[in-house]
Subunit: 385 residues, 2 copies
Amino acid sequence: MPESEEISKGLEDVNIKWTRLTTIDGEKGILKYGGYSIEDIVNNNALAEEIQYLFLYGELPTMEQLKNFRKKIEEGYNVPDFVIDIIRKLPRESDAVAMQMTAFASLAAKETNFKWNKETNRDVAAVQIGRMVAITANVYRHIMGMDPVKVKPYPTEAETFLRATFGRDVTKDEIDAMNTALILYTDHEVPASTTAGLVAVSTLSDIYSGVTAALAALKGPLHGGAAEAAIAQFAEIGSVENVEKWFNENILTGKRRLMGFGHRVYKTYDPRAKIFKRIAEKLIARSEEAKKYYQIATKLEELGIKNYGIKGIYPNTDYYSGIVYMSIGFPLRNNIYTALFALSRITGWQAHFIEYVEEQHRLIRPRAVYRGPGDRKFVRIEERK
Amino acid sequence: MPESEEISKGLEDVNIKWTRLTTIDGEKGILKYGGYSIEDIVNNNALAEEIQYLFLYGELPTMEQLKNFRKKIEEGYNVPDFVIDIIRKLPRESDAVAMQMTAFASLAAKETNFKWNKETNRDVAAVQIGRMVAITANVYRHIMGMDPVKVKPYPTEAETFLRATFGRDVTKDEIDAMNTALILYTDHEVPASTTAGLVAVSTLSDIYSGVTAALAALKGPLHGGAAEAAIAQFAEIGSVENVEKWFNENILTGKRRLMGFGHRVYKTYDPRAKIFKRIAEKLIARSEEAKKYYQIATKLEELGIKNYGIKGIYPNTDYYSGIVYMSIGFPLRNNIYTALFALSRITGWQAHFIEYVEEQHRLIRPRAVYRGPGDRKFVRIEERK
C-alpha cells in the first residue's frame, strides 16, 4: 500500500526532476532558457539551431561548434526510406502529429540495442532534430498531395525546413518568422508531453520512443492542440464586428472557455505570446485571412483581459502562434500547427531526457490508491447471475 | 517557481490516481483484480476475456455479456489494411514492441476527432483489444518471414491469437498457458507504461495514442524487457552445473544484477511468479531448451533467495514467464516476449485511462526545480569566444 492516501491530482506542485534548461516565473511572465530571457534571445536574432545547441550543451555555440552541430543535424535529414514509405501509407486525412508519431515509432523499431551514453547522447539528439525536420516536411507534403522530398540543407534550419516543405523559394520574412517560432516553442519545463517522454525513457527505453510518447501527449486538445483551437475560435467568430456579441454569449455566460487564454503556470501575459503577437502584426499583410483573424484576436484579447486578467488569465503562447503559421503559409488543417509545435519542442524533450538519464535517473513508478471492492470470491461463469 | 524545492524521485510514494482495478500488497505478496485474488482467478480457469471484462466493467460477465463483449473484440480483429502494410514496411529485424507501437500510432493518425465518452469508451477499448491481437500476430509473422494474416475467431482469445500467430493447430496445454499468461500480465497498478499512457490521455489525446505512449515505456529494459533479460541470463549460464560458479562470480561480487529478481513494490515472492513457475514446470517437457532453462532458473532462484531474500529480493513475474513463452513456441528474439506482455497489458492500460478520464480527470503537469545558470546576457555569435 502507498504510505499516504492523498492523491497528487495532475501532479501539480510535484517536482519530477531538476533542470538547467528552462525557468518560468509565472507571476512576472518571464521565461528564460539557460539564464537567457527569450526576449533577449529573439531581439538578438539568434538562430533556432544556436538555441538547440544551448539546450543540449548548456552554452551558446561558437561558429566552429555550430558548424559541427549542423553537420549532425544534416545527417538526420537523410531519413531511411522505410520511414518515408510508412508516412505515405497513412491516410492523407490523418492527424499530422500522429503521423510524426508513427514515423518516430518506426525509427524506434530499429533501436533493438539502444544505450544511453554521455559520449553520444547529444549527437543522437542532433541527428534526431534533423529527422524531425525531414519527417515534418514529408508529413506536410503527403497531407497536401505533394511528392516526398529529400531534404537539402540551406544556411539555416528554418530556411531548410520551409524550402523542403513548400518546395519553393522562401522570403526573409517567412524564414525569420519560422526561426522565431522554432525558438519560442523549444522548451517549457515539464508539461505533459515532456513528462510522458520522461516516464518512457526512465525505463531506459530509447530516445525515439521517448519522442514518440511525448508526441502522444502533445496530440491532445488540452496540450498541443491549443494553437489550432485558438484560431478555430477566431474563424468561428468570423468578423471583428461579431467579437463582442460572441464573447458575451459564449464566454461571459460561462458556456465555453476562451481558447488560447490562461495557463497552469503563467498568471500574467505569457512572454512568448507577446513575441508571437509582434510577428503576427508584421506578417499579416501577406494574407487577408490571417489579417482578419489578427483583428478578431486583438479585439477578443481586449475583452478577455478586461474580464479575466484580474484572475490571472491572459493570452498564452498558442493565442497568436496559429496566425503566424497561417501567415507563413501553413493551412489550418490536419493539426499541422501542432506538428510545427512538435518540430520545435523536440529539442526540449531530448534535453530533458538527457538531463534525467545522465544525472538523475530513477525508474518513474508512482502509486495508485485502491478504492475498489473488498475481497470477493470467484464464481464460475456458469453460476454467475 | 514550484512551492517546494524537494524532488519526488521516480515519483515513488506519489499517488497519481485512485483505482478500483488492482491492489497489490507488496509485503504479503498478494495481487487482486477488483477484489479477486489472482490465485482464485487462475485456479477457477477464468478466461482472459472474462478478466478483461472485469477490468472494463467492474464485474465478471454473464454468458450473455461475455458474448457481446467478444463481438466487439472480434470487430477489432479486422485491422485496416494500411496498418498491416505499415507493419510490413518495417525492417524484419525490428523490435517487436516498437512494431506494435508503430501500428498503434498509425491507428491514432485516423483519430482526428476522438472524444472520450462514457457511452462508448468500453466498446472502443474492446475493439482495441482485438486490434492488439491482430497487430501482435502480424508483427510476429513479419519477423518470422511469414505472410500477413486476417484473424479468424476461435472459442477463446488465447486460441484465436495462437492460431493466427503460428498458423497451425494448437494444443490445449498451449492455449491454457497462453490464457494464463494473458491474465497474469493484465494489470499491475501504475508502472511506468501505464503512467506514460495516463500522462498522454490527461491531455485528452485519443486512446490509441495512450497505448502508443505506454508501449514506448514498456519497450525499456527496466520495464517490459525484464522477461527477456531473465531468460537471456539463463542462456548465458548455459548449464545447471554452472549456476553456482556464475552466481558467485557475477552476482555475489556485485558486478551484475540478478535479472527477474526484485521489484519496486513486492518485498516477497511475486504471486504471479509462483503461477508462472507452476505452468513452466508443466510445459517444459515440450522443449529441451526450455527444460534446461527451467532447471537453471530453479537452481539460481535457490541461491538468489538464500542470499537476497532477507533484503526482500525475490523472483518477480518476469523470472519464469520467458520460459513459459518459450515452451509455448515463441522464440527468444526481437523482444517478442515483451510484445506478448503488451498484448495482455493493453487492458490494464485502457481501464486505467478510462477511470482517469471519466472520474478523476486533470491535465498532468508536474514541475521541475531550476538549478541552472543565473541571469546571462546574450552575446551574438560573432562576439562569442
